[in-house]
Subunit: 151 residues, 3 copies
Amino acid sequence: MTGGDVVEEWIARLEIRRCAEQYAHAADLGDADLFVAQFAPDGVIEAPNGTHTGAQELRGVIDGLRSRFAATFHAVLNQTSEIAGDTATAQTYCLARHFYRDRAGSASCFEMTIRYHDELTCINGQWRFSRRRLELVATQRFQADASALKH
Amino acid sequence: MTGGDVVEEWIARLEIRRCAEQYAHAADLGDADLFVAQFAPDGVIEAPNGTHTGAQELRGVIDGLRSRFAATFHAVLNQTSEIAGDTATAQTYCLARHFYRDRAGSASCFEMTIRYHDELTCINGQWRFSRRRLELVATQRFQADASALKH
Amino acid sequence: MTGGDVVEEWIARLEIRRCAEQYAHAADLGDADLFVAQFAPDGVIEAPNGTHTGAQELRGVIDGLRSRFAATFHAVLNQTSEIAGDTATAQTYCLARHFYRDRAGSASCFEMTIRYHDELTCINGQWRFSRRRLELVATQRFQADASALKH
């Protein structure tokens, strides 16, 4: 028989995974409200190109993606989380594809191979990122089929 | 303490994710029975190359994959689902790799970056796809190592 | 209402998935203890380049990865598992990226598209791999951005 505390821990892990998946979904939809809702009020993204703190700066991340790329696709992969009461840490793997047209009009993809080092906090029963530190393992660029991109 | 309805919702989400994973598994094995079993009787795949409705046409999708490619590999990634009673919607990310030999005999891969827009229904306690609409975000082709392909 | 046995089966599936994710995490960190801990005492990896049995040979797999590559990134994708009492089987999809510098100093990636055929056993309430057979679907090499690699 599975104990209630084991079930509770797995529900927490699934909710933490869902935060990472909603983050991806929001980024790719350009939905700044949904994106910000995955973070604690003073939540932080620490990326190679800078650190973004709090709702206004996090919204700027979405604006930046929309202005620079025709489409993005954040594939969320493995996530190993460790829960300690109302806080948690996780390592979350991601392949982030950024599609754009180059100067010649060809569709291209800039892909980031990412390992996020995540810290989360549970606020009123909801898990939220307090910090996502983006470790960039590698990047690559490749040609994609133009017909599939909207603009 | 985690309420029973929270647990029930997460079990539903896991079962919905399993539908997408069995779909991938069935496609890659060429198992038409397992593939069709993930769909409601009048289930639909809506793809750029056409719409396939019901068991017979869904079997044709598997036949088409087997006749055209030496192997396929459907990587199922993030899935965000929303459940409303006996129906659900989900967005499911996928990298679908299709391996084949080109005219010169070299192994190549045609990869589709896909976001499925899924609708599901729970029939006799089993979640099934009523519709999978395939949004093709982008495609690419690349050379693969020939020795790994069976034919 | 969801029955306790359904919950128990899903907890087992989640724990089995976690074994695959900890295997990936351990391989990429170079953590031989964590890697070996995912296996039963006489656990086996059956790979195209040879078979590795038991803790000492499994540690050698980690040593081999660290000596040959600047970094690895094992993306764990779909996993379909079937549980039968204290044993289980699973098919686990993986994209394994191996980063290195070629002779000219450029960063490159050797990527393996893998389907693991897994057998697991539950020992003292802990799921462990008794065997991971690595089916290599295909491989590819591509150029990566050098600046992202540590050495």
